[in-house]
């Protein structure tokens, strides 16, 4: 009776495969042992330590971490008074809004074109995915060299002038943001066009019989149908407010031509800061913790709101 109960407890959802004997259990444990240990150390351990580090500081002379709850908080309070810090927050949200809005809208239109198998659709599918294959650094260098050298030179040869756009402290951030959107369609187009393929033919045919134009079909049938997929991208994209470097490090390393930057760039810069060892680590942890405290509830809130919109 006891054995039967045990078996019943192990079997779930009516699945036909369950842990039958010690051999199965041993195999199951062996498969999971290393991955679970890895998660215990590098997910739970690392994140717990990250919280602790937020209340510590690092002594370069003694090469050790020690408790100082006020140090990071004071540095943060000081940064809050710096206009450049607020500029960084604003820039991070601008990048997020533009990549989400412009990126998603364009990706949806392109996906629709591919889904409807319009002229050269396979070729465009490849073209849109191309920036995901080519190393980002190569694209950065090509864009950098082309915008700084080739374009001004060619224009000057035909009698027009153009200021180098990437070294101008006022415009560089806008230019780099456009570049980020320009190279970022690949995965969205692949997923959206895949989701569009799941739309039942009968639904599209009914729309056509009702005289729906391509635009009407796109807005009233296709977009609502794939909204759950779009919502997933939007939800996953919230964390990028705090992690998106906007390719700034690839373009400029640690020497930006102006004050505009994103939180993602700043966090990486704090850790990378060549020659400064681990002196910024605790503050980076502190900023990461603050960012998580904003990102996690915001993600849940947006997720809930999108679900409510979906239900309506």
């Amino acid at each position: 009776m006891k054995t039967a109960n045990k078996k019943a407890a192990l079997k779930i959802n009516g699945g036909s495969s369950f842990i039958r004997n010690k051999g199965d259990l041993l195999f199951y444990v062996l498969l999971l042992l290393i991955p679970i240990t890895q998660i215990a150390i590098f997910y739970f351990g690392v994140n717990f330590q990250n919280i602790l580090m937020s209340f510590q500081t690092y002594s370069t002379s003694e090469n050790t971490f020690y408790w100082d709850a006020a140090a990071n908080f004071n540095r943060f309070a000081k940064e809050l008074k710096d206009p450049n810090f607020w500029l960084m927050i604003k820039d991070s949200f601008i990048v997020w809004i533009f990549t989400q809005l412009a990126g998603t809208v364009l990706a949806l239109f392109f996906s629709y074109y591919i889904f409807k198998k319009r002229k050269l659709y396979n070729f465009f599918k490849f073209v849109l995915f191309l920036p995901s294959i080519i190393p980002g650094l190569l694209l950065v260098l090509i864009f950098q060299s082309f915008a700084n050298n080739a374009l001004p030179a060619f224009l000057e040869h035909i009698g027009t002038t153009l200021k180098p756009i990437l070294t101008d402290s006022k415009n560089y951030f806008t230019v780099v943001t456009v570049f980020t959107i320009w190279v970022g369609f690949g995965s969205q187009v692949l997923v959206y066009s895949g989701a569009m393929n799941q739309i039942p033919d009968s639904m599209l045919e009914a729309g056509k019989l009702d005289g729906a134009s391509s635009f009407t079909e796109f807005i009233q049938l296709v977009v609502p149908y794939i909204m759950p997929t779009v919502a997933t991208f939007i939800i996953a994209g919230i964390a990028t407010i705090f992690t998106n470097q906007n390719n700034l490090f690839s373009f400029y390393g640690s020497s930006l031509p102006g004050a505009d930057k994103t939180i993602g760039y700043y966090l990486y810069y704090l850790v990378d800061a060549s020659g400064q060892g681990m002196s910024n680590y605790c503050y980076a942890s502190f900023l990461g913790l603050i960012s998580t405290c904003v990102a996690a509830p915001l993600t849940l809130l947006v997720r809930r709101s999108l679900r409510k919109v979906g239900e309506k």
């Binding site: 999971l32 590098f42 997910y43 690392v46 392109f110 060299s145 681990m278 990461g288």
Partner: protein, 301 residues
């Protein structure tokens, strides 16, 4: 069954010529040209004679027509990256480091979710549901800025600045790859495993010879996409592997360098084209296998 294409041929033709389709087509052509022109320029520039290149851009000469391969020779043989410890690595050595790093990381980054997804999908144990739920929660709740803590942890475990440490770090299944593979393994009927078991096959044999081969295209795709990501990434190796500069990391340094031998755009572009070649080759060879197949499975007859 009448196909949609045959049912409404006229409306299809009319639809394909709609204003919206024409606008998207034009935008896509512009997008294509905006990629193509700089790429052609970059490849052409990589073969430019340095003097002719400077003459043209300084308005002292005509458009450079003399093509040379010298820039590739300079980039591949003369450029070296020096680590903090003072060791220098040339292009070939960095390529070797990149290969070890990329192959190892892509292997473990694919293997781990494969094994965990297999266990969770094929063994309906309560803990399997816990794993699935945990992955969903971990992916939904973003955690920002844990890099310093991760580095500290690697240092505490004496795994920092080592390939082994990087491979352990990549044995992570908290990713979309787990969910894709889970769906794949769950779709394969349990009767396959049952039949093999009746024939006396061990659990290991069932996994490696019966189930995994059916998911091979998905596994290959995940490996290939991971390979591309790790090959192109320079930011993680730059911080986690300071003694072993990968090619991408070396070329990042190269792109910011103002040393006389590498400051010229043709030489830099030649070096970067060298970085891209392996990806193009791998992608070209495995392109047809790029498929996330979640429709596999089913017993015929």
């Amino acid at each position: 069954m009448i196909k949609k294409k045959n049912l409404l041929p006229n409306s299809m033709i009319k639809e394909s010529k709609s204003v919206m389709n024409i606008i998207i087509f034009v935008v896509l052509i512009v997008y294509f040209l905006s990629l193509l022109i700089p790429i052609i320029w970059a490849v052409y520039t990589a073969f430019n004679d340095i003097e002719a290149y400077y003459d043209f851009y300084a308005f002292n000469g005509d458009f450079p027509t003399k093509l040379v391969i010298d820039n590739f020779r300079v980039a591949f043989t003369q450029y070296e990256v020096q680590t903090i410890s003072g060791t220098s690595y040339n292009f070939l050595e960095m390529t070797g480091i990149s290969l070890i790093y990329t192959l190892g990381c892509a292997f473990f980054y694919t293997l781990t979710p494969t094994l965990v997804a297999y266990a969770a999908a094929r063994f309906k144990f309560k803990f399997s549901s816990v794993i699935y739920a945990f992955v969903i929660i971990a992916m939904a709740l973003p955690i920002v800025g844990s890099m310093p803590s991760e580095i500290k942890m690697l240092k505490q475990l004496n795994l920092f600045d080592s390939f082994f440490g990087m491979f352990i770090l990549r044995m992570n299944f908290l990713s979309i790859n787990f969910l894709i593979l889970y769906a794949q393994f769950e779709m394969i009927p349990m009767t396959y495993s049952e039949a093999a078991k009746v024939d006396g096959a061990s659990n290991f044999r069932i996994m490696t010879q019966v189930i995994l081969p059916q998911a091979i295209s998905t596994i290959t795709t995940i490996f290939l996409l991971s390979f591309i990501t790790f090959w192109n990434d320079y930011q993680i190796p730059r911080i986690y592997l300071p003694s072993y500069p990968t090619l991408a990391e070396g070329l990042f340094t190269f792109s910011l360098d103002t040393l006389p031998i590498v400051r010229d755009a043709p030489v830099k572009l030649a070096g970067f084209i060298g970085l891209t070649l392996p990806i193009v080759i791998v992608f070209g060879v495995l392109n047809k296998k790029l498929r996330i197949n979640v429709a596999t499975g089913g017993i015929k007859g």
